[in-house]
């Protein structure tokens, strides 16, 4: 069975999703345990594959027994294996944390929610594992369609922002498909490794068609990940969704899209083409700088927790895109490392915000007063997540930022390094503002001082902590942030360094 692990990684969730979908009409009580089981199994098998990859190099699995250019292959190498672990781990932790929330929000449609949840994870895992350019599009659409419906069920403006997301997401996916089509008519192949082989040939290296394929593929992926001028859909979609869905969709979608960008950049178009011939790196880094500055500044202007977090996500996308287009080893290492770290950080912050809204029913800054006394555990985890985003050692955020800044300086992009530091400062201001409100202000301050005072003396020290099923995963994530920071060295030397193809200085 070890031989079939890459296939089982996606087949087991798919089969379970179908079973859950059918069972939700017959025996709804079985849905939750099955969902747990299958995502747990995916996590186990992705860890198994990671170990296998570290031990004996990349794994290739042919679907239907047809080898490379003819059939579809799955390639799990040093780059994809850690991302797989992250994707499945995020899904599992979020599932545990939001089971109460799901019960409350979707009581009569739980089975369908679980099915869509697993299908989303299947799509994400497939995107990471696939070695075929067209297969990536199909899986992209699975992940996208489930994402639209998970987001569209939320409150207030959720349907509108979800439809907006659908329009823009469709344009993005279609652009990617068009880019694959251009590559296909230039070379005749769809397999990533095969395409990379073609790219080494001089006639493809100079073809304007291939250049346009690169531009349009990347534009599609940029739209999907929400890079700065194309980010319009992101803040509303993530902040109006139900916390149970946004804590899944927000950490995974953007990061997996950045993974896809790195994959397409390094393993389809090859670094020699992207960084050598095209010379787009400089311009892209400036766009990333704009994204970082813009995201940070707008985060500062927000008045509610979820909105603020979404703008931080936009700034983080800028970090990773910039790091990749620096084109040197340090930058790409930082970028790949930041995919892992940022997924964990975003998960931690979104889970904490979800726990807060579960209790206070609001994520407005006004309603955060005194939360440190009311929800000490949640706020501790939130603090750890915030420190990671700011980049304070020993949390993991520090190390990836370190690599990115060194990369920026090595490449001579001082603007990028400055933007990273600026963003850290803004994040520090942001989060300390929240800590101040949550620690020093008394709940109910402001109006009716006398009346309120009497009331919250009773409430002041009363803990209204979120349920244990939310706290435990949150604490695990927070500890994970520190653990990731401590083991950064191992991750970089054993996994990520091997993922970056030779020839990148």
């Amino acid at each position: 069975m070890i031989r079939h692990l890459p296939a089982l990684l996606v087949i087991v969730p798919l089969l379970t999703a179908l079973t859950v979908s059918a069972l939700s009409w017959v025996a709804p009580r079985l849905c939750l345990p099955l969902t747990f089981g299958c995502i747990g199994a995916s996590l186990a098998s992705s860890i198994g594959i990671l170990v296998e990859v570290i031990k004996s190099g990349p794994v290739v699995y042919t679907m239907g027994g047809w080898s490379a250019p003819v059939g579809i292959v799955y390639v799990i190498d040093y780059l994809s294996a850690p991302v797989l672990v992250v994707v499945t781990a995020v899904a599992l932790i979020n599932l545990i944390a939001s089971s109460k929330q799901i019960d409350r929000d979707f009581s009569d449609k739980k089975g369908t929610f679980y099915t869509l949840y697993i299908l989303f994870v299947t799509g994400m895992v497939g995107i990471v594992a696939t070695g075929d350019a067209f297969n990536l599009y199909v899986l992209l659409e699975i992940a996208a369609l489930t994402g639209y419906s998970l987001i569209g069920i939320g409150h207030e403006r959720a349907p509108l922002s979800s439809l907006n997301y659908l329009f823009i997401g469709t344009i993005g996916a279609s652009f990617y498909l068009l880019g694959v089509g251009y590559l296909y008519i230039a070379t005749g192949s769809l397999n990533m490794a095969d395409l990379a082989r073609f790219m080494a040939m001089p006639e493809h290296g100079t073809s304007t068609m291939v250049m346009f394929a690169f531009i349009i593929c990347m534009t599609g992926l940029f739209i999907k990940m929400g890079l700065f001028p194309l980010h319009g859909w992101l803040p509303n979609a993530y902040s109006y969704a139900s916390p149970a869905s946004s804590a899944l969709v927000a950490p995974l979608t953007t990061k997996v899209m950045i993974y896809a960008m790195i994959r397409v950049g390094l393993y389809v178009f090859t670094p020699a083409y992207v960084f050598g011939r095209l010379q787009v790196g400089g311009a892209m880094v400036w766009i990333a700088v704009a994204a970082i500055v813009f995201g940070s500044l707008l985060a500062l202007a927000q008045k509610s927790l979820f909105k603020m977090l979404t703008y931080i996500v936009i700034a983080e996308v800028g970090y990773m895109v910039g790091g990749f287009f620096l084109g040197n080893r340090m930058g790409i290492t930082g970028s790949a490392l930041h995919i892992i770290n940022d997924a964990a950080m975003t998960l931690c912050l979104f889970l904490a915000a979800g726990a807060i809204t579960y209790r206070t029913k609001s994520d407005d800054f006004k309603d955060l007063k005194g939360l440190f006394h009311q929800m000490p555990f949640t706020m501790t985890a939130f603090t750890v997540g915030a420190l990671a985003v700011i980049g304070v050692p020993p949390t993991c955020g520090f190390f990836s930022k370190w690599y990115l800044i060194i990369g920026g300086i090595q490449a001579g992009h001082y603007g990028y390094a400055a933007a990273l530091i600026f963003s850290s400062l803004v994040n520090a201001v942001l989060f300390f503002r929240i800590f101040e409100t949550a620690y020093f202000d008394q709940p109910g301050d402001g109006k009716g001082h006398h009346h309120g005072h009497h009331k919250h003396h009773k409430h002041k020290n009363k803990m209204v902590e979120a349920p244990v099923s939310m706290i435990v995963p949150l604490m695990i994530t927070a500890l994970g942030l520190i653990a990731l920071g401590i083991y950064t060295g191992d991750i970089v030397t054993h996994v990520i360094q091997a993922a970056i193809p030779g020839g990148i200085a």
């Binding site: 199909v138 369609l145 349907p159 329009f167 344009i171 279609s174 089509g181």
Partner: protein, 132 residues
């Protein structure tokens, strides 16, 4: 200039796909009615399918169904390229699935706001925010 026109004459399919794509994109950007936008999105997706199908075409060749004879040698050059057709079957399915989800969302929005015009919805939201 004339060169461009002769080149376009040999590639009019590609020109048609670009025009359709732009029509779809225009509808998605400019139109304020949600159903119009959804129709524009479908046009956008079909234009890409047209592009793929055009690349597979070979002048004067037949459809990709080979003779029913296991021993006859097949001259691949006599048949139209089947691979893009397969890819586009998938793309058509994806486009109808997207259409279904988009219409469901549009109906949900109509249920919520009583209108399909995006401008009106945004105006409503703004006046609501002003009130609170």
């Amino acid at each position: 200039m004339e060169q461009i026109f002769t080149a376009m004459g040999a590639k009019y399919n590609y020109v048609a796909y670009i025009i359709l794509m732009m029509v779809g994109l225009y509808a998605m950007i400019v139109k304020s009615n949600l159903v119009k936008k959804i129709i524009g999105m479908s046009i956008f997706q079909t234009s890409i399918i047209l592009f793929y199908v055009s690349t597979a075409y070979k002048t004067g060749k037949t459809i990709p169904i080979v003779p029913y004879d296991a021993h006859a040698a097949v001259q691949a050059a006599d048949f139209i390229n089947p691979l893009p057709h397969v890819l586009m079957l998938t793309a058509i399915v994806v486009s109808v699935a997207t259409l279904g989800v988009a219409l469901a969302l549009a109906m949900k929005i109509y249920r919520q706001y009583g209108t399909l015009e995006e401008d009106d919805i945004h105006e409503d939201l703004r006046s609501e925010e002003g009130k609170s």
